[in-house]
């Protein structure tokens, strides 16, 4: 459904953030996007949702296609209308507004009142906690409730594709598990999800497919189950081996290049 072809982004015309990323999110699939700080994960989401100009970033190469149509020159409003909704990192609720107002702000692009009603009911059944706190200020909710409200707000636009930026950030372990099952539930209802996470364990356990981003490039792409088994991922993101803290995935790329070179020599 969503295809990124060789997407390159620079900030303020000089600082490269993405250097030719290709990625695909098929219909109704959860894709995890892993990577360290500064790898370009958030930039990739901004490129999709049209928020780059706000950060003085520009798409300098490649295209982004939604169902075959280019969306990389459209306004954020248009992109939301086409069915892509984003949950920003750090939740970013409208803290002085009530829970209900936050949700209706998420449906601002929707003109049809019955569609809004339906989305609202869906959010309420997905997050019964929010139903109890409809008219309290968003800023007074707990961290977990705030993350649910942030996701609910994005769902109010009834997206085909949900972009989630670090939904587990700063949450207690049981809440991380709760978020995980919510993602699975949203996906089960037919919404595709692009999940950006530092918590690789959680991300890969819910995703079908995973990409690893490093300094603006995709260094690894594989089904999530396989990434979970991959030795380097285990060491680097899951910390499943002691010692050797500063391990870079860079050598993965080298290994692959070496592999290609080997093949060249063999043929």
């Amino acid at each position: 459904m969503l295809v990124l072809q060789d997407v390159a982004v620079t900030y303020q015309n000089v600082i490269p953030a993405l250097r030719g990323v290709s990625l695909e999110i098929p219909d109704k699939v959860v894709v995890a996007l892993l990577g360290t700080n500064g790898a370009g994960k958030t930039t990739l989401l901004r490129a999709i949702s049209g928020l780059l100009p706000l950060h003085r970033g520009t798409l300098v190469g490649g295209h982004i296609l939604l169902a075959g149509e280019r969306i990389d020159r459209l306004s954020p409003t248009r992109i939301v209308q086409l069915g892509i909704a984003q949950v920003l990192e750090g939740r970013r609720l409208f803290e002085d507004l009530t829970v209900d107002e936050n949700l209706y702000a998420g449906a601002i692009t929707v003109r049809n009142p019955t569609a809004i009603r339906r989305a609202y009911d869906r959010v309420m059944s997905l997050f019964p906690v929010l139903a109890e706190r409809r008219s309290s200020r968003a800023g007074y909710l707990s961290g977990g409730e705030q993350q649910m409200l942030a996701i609910g707000r994005a769902l109010m636009a009834s997206p085909r594709l949900l972009l989630l930026d670090e939904p587990s950030l700063g949450l207690a372990p049981f809440m991380v598990q709760r978020i995980r099952s919510i993602i699975a539930e949203i996906n089960a209802e037919g919404t595709a999800v692009l999940l950006v996470e530092q918590n690789a364990q959680m991300a890969l356990s819910v995703a079908h497919y995973g990409y690893v981003l490093e300094t603006g490039r995709v260094v690894l792409a594989a089904p999530a189950a396989r990434l979970l088994q991959e030795e380097n991922i285990r060491q680097f993101y899951l910390g499943l081996r002691e010692g050797e803290r500063q391990l870079s995935l860079g050598h993965l790329r080298q290994r692959r290049r070496a592999g290609a070179a080997e093949r060249r020599w063999q043929s």
Binding site: S49, G50, L51, P53, L54, H55, R56, S75, P76, T77, I79, V80, Q81, A85, Q86, L88, R92, L93, F94, E95, D96, L97, E101, Y104, A105, G106, I108, T109, R153, A154, A157
Partner: protein, 299 residues
């Protein structure tokens, strides 16, 4: 007692004018974190258009007023289109400096277009119109000022609380990027804020001109008088602008009414100082104003 009530009535009416002018400031500040220093000049252009529509083109006041509002709304929208749109995501300070530039341009245009002479203001009332209740004279223009302010505040309250665009404006004010991510068209929000603020401020200016009977190219400084009102109420609070306006209006009119009884040392200009004294006093106690939120950015 009648004298006191007379002063209170006049003070509330005066305060409503400050409130209207102040509303213009706070709507723009809320939407874009920018203090619009061209506010006074928007008001100036508006009152000049209304005055010359009545005096030179002999339009009825009720036609001239919407014409004046229309002109300032268009200036606001044009400014959004040509300048603000390119400034989304830039520091508010940049935009603030640009509004100072706009202020100078508009003032110059007024002098070029109308000259620097004082001209009579347009008014639908005669000075003595109105009626008396218990020895207090309720002037028509003051009654209308108070009435218009109340209706407008109710309409604004409805707009911000109950409509899509009102919600979009409040959301944008709180978090621009999150609003964009929701698909809220921030450019429309800015245009709306500037159009609305221009119209409300101009309305305040026209009412003020009715009170002061004449206008000249310095009339825009009137907006500065509204400044203590919005600082007092809290820069980012719409209801604060109204309460602040009324407090400042009452203070200034009551001191003006009683200052002749004070010792001669104090002089007769005290009423021009008291609004600022009140402002400083309240800021010492609540630095973010009566209704303002604590996070207001200092520029």
């Amino acid at each position: 007692m009648a004298y006191f009530l007379q002063l209170v009535f006049a003070g509330v009416a005066q305060g409503c004018i400050y409130a209207l002018i102040g509303l213009g400031f706070s709507i723009i500040f809320k939407a874009s974190q920018v203090i619009n220093f061209a506010q006074g000049e928007l008001l100036l252009v508006g009152t000049y258009v209304v005055a010359s529509a009545v005096l030179n083109w002999h339009l009825p006041f009720l036609l001239a007023l919407p014409l004046g509002l229309l002109v300032t709304i268009l200036i606001g929208l044009l400014f959004e289109r040509l300048v603000l749109r390119r400034m989304i995501g830039r520091p508010p300070f940049t935009v603030l400096m640009i509004t100072i530039g706009l202020d100078i341009i508009l003032r110059t245009l007024v002098v070029v277009g109308w000259g620097s002479r004082t001209i009579p203001a347009a008014t639908p009332f005669t000075v003595t119109s109105g009626f008396n209740v218990a020895g207090v004279h309720l002037g028509s223009s003051d009654l209308w000022t108070i009435g218009v302010t109340i209706v407008l505040c109710a309409a604004l309250y409805y707009f911000f609380r109950r409509t899509r665009y009102g919600l979009a404006m409040r959301a944008t004010a709180l978090d621009q990027e999150a609003a964009l991510a929701m698909g809220i068209d921030v450019r429309t929000v800015y245009a709306l804020a500037w159009g609305l603020a221009a119209a409300i401020t101009t309305l305040g200016g026209v009412l003020l001109a009715i009170d002061s009977l004449a206008i000249d190219p310095n009339f825009g400084n009137a907006a500065l008088v509204a400044f203590p009102a919005i600082i007092l109420g809290g820069l980012d609070s719409v209801s604060g602008a109204v309460v602040g306006g009324v407090i400042i209006g009452l203070t200034s009119v009551l001191t003006a009414g009683y200052e002749s009884r004070l010792p001669a040392v104090v002089g007769t200009g005290l009423h021009e100082v008291t609004p600022y004294l009140i402002m400083i006093l309240i800021l010492l106690i609540r630095p973010y104003g009566l209704f303002g939120s604590r996070k207001v950015e200092r520029v």
